[in-house]
């Protein structure tokens, strides 16, 4: 019962936030609203008993992506100071809204064929899941089952993912940090030596 109420409320907040994001023009405000969006989705994941997904959402959605979006804003904007007043919307984003609504409707239509939430007879639960639930602790010694699957049973898969994420991270760092003048580092080193 209470789960349903919390679910509905969080989803309502989520919808409100999304509409606000679509309607807003100030990019900075939009990034802040994305932070709220991520917090809300994490709340939903928690209600659905998926702590690992909520963890990822916390680290990636609320933490890294907010910082990355802000950094992108900083790099693409010329004025050094962000004005704190905001302009009103210049045009009405009806076309994107329609596109999104149609896509969303198609996705919702697709969910009708999905087995209901937590259904023990769903295909995802009937094949290997039972094996992992019964044997993962004995075979790997890792108490968290999701970690056991990711780091042990699908270790090579995860290794590949880590390589991809690492490459992406290095690329983003090069893009964002590349504009830092080299002289600063050199001078700073010199300054530290002087202090020492």
């Amino acid at each position: 019962m209470i789960d349903t109420i919390i679910n509905i409320t969080l989803l309502a907040f989520l919808a409100t936030t999304s509409v606000a994001i679509v309607r807003m023009t100030n990019l900075f405000a939009i990034v802040m609203l994305f932070g709220i969006f991520s917090l809300l989705s994490a709340g939903l994941f928690v209600v659905m008993d998926a702590p690992d997904v909520a963890f990822t959402e916390a680290a990636v959605g609320a933490g890294i992506s907010t910082v990355l979006m802000l950094a992108t804003l900083a790099l693409t904007r010329n004025s050094s100071k962000t004005p704190y007043t905001e302009a009103s919307p210049a045009h009405r984003p009806w076309l994107p809204l329609i596109v999104v609504a149609v896509t969303g409707a198609a996705l919702v239509y697709g969910t009708w064929d999905i087995p209901s939430f937590g259904d023990p007879n769903a295909p995802a639960q009937t094949h290997v899941a039972r094996y992992y639930i019964e044997n993962s602790i004995v075979e790997t010694g890792v108490p968290n089952m999701v970690t056991a699957v990711l780091a042990s049973y699908r270790g090579f898969d995860t290794l590949g993912e880590v390589a991809v994420v690492y490459t992406a991270g290095v690329a983003v760092l090069l893009l964002i940090g590349g504009r830092r003048p080299k002289t600063a580092v050199k001078l700073k080193d010199k300054g530290e030596q002087d202090e020492a």
């Binding site: 802040m32 994490a42 002289t183």
Partner: protein, 99 residues
């Protein structure tokens, strides 16, 4: 009773969300997002007790830290306009350029 508390937190989140949507200044939004984050931490903690899964407290912990990092990053962007290193380093660079 946990239910009452989680409902109260949801109402507070709604009020903070109204402020984040209404603005009017960017700082109002950041303050609202910060408050919203604190409320999410509390909501997750209450949910952990509501569902009896104490592991969920870890998420609340992570959120308490991440939220802070997000706010500080936002503020650094607003005040400085970039994410380059500290003020001191900036000053060193400016001095170098002027010489």
């Amino acid at each position: 009773m946990f239910i009452a508390v989680s409902l109260a937190i949801l109402i507070t989140m709604g009020l903070a969300l109204t402020r984040a949507l209404a603005g009017p200044t960017t700082y109002d939004r950041i303050a609202a997002v910060n408050m919203f984050g604190t409320k999410t931490v509390l909501l997750i903690a209450v949910l952990a007790f509501l569902s009896g899964l104490n592991d969920l407290l870890d998420i609340a912990l992570v959120y308490a830290l991440i939220n802070f990092i997000g706010v500080v990053a936002a503020l650094k962007l607003v005040t400085q306009g970039n994410f380059h290193a500290s003020d001191r380093e900036e000053r060193v660079v400016e001095k170098e350029r002027s010489e």
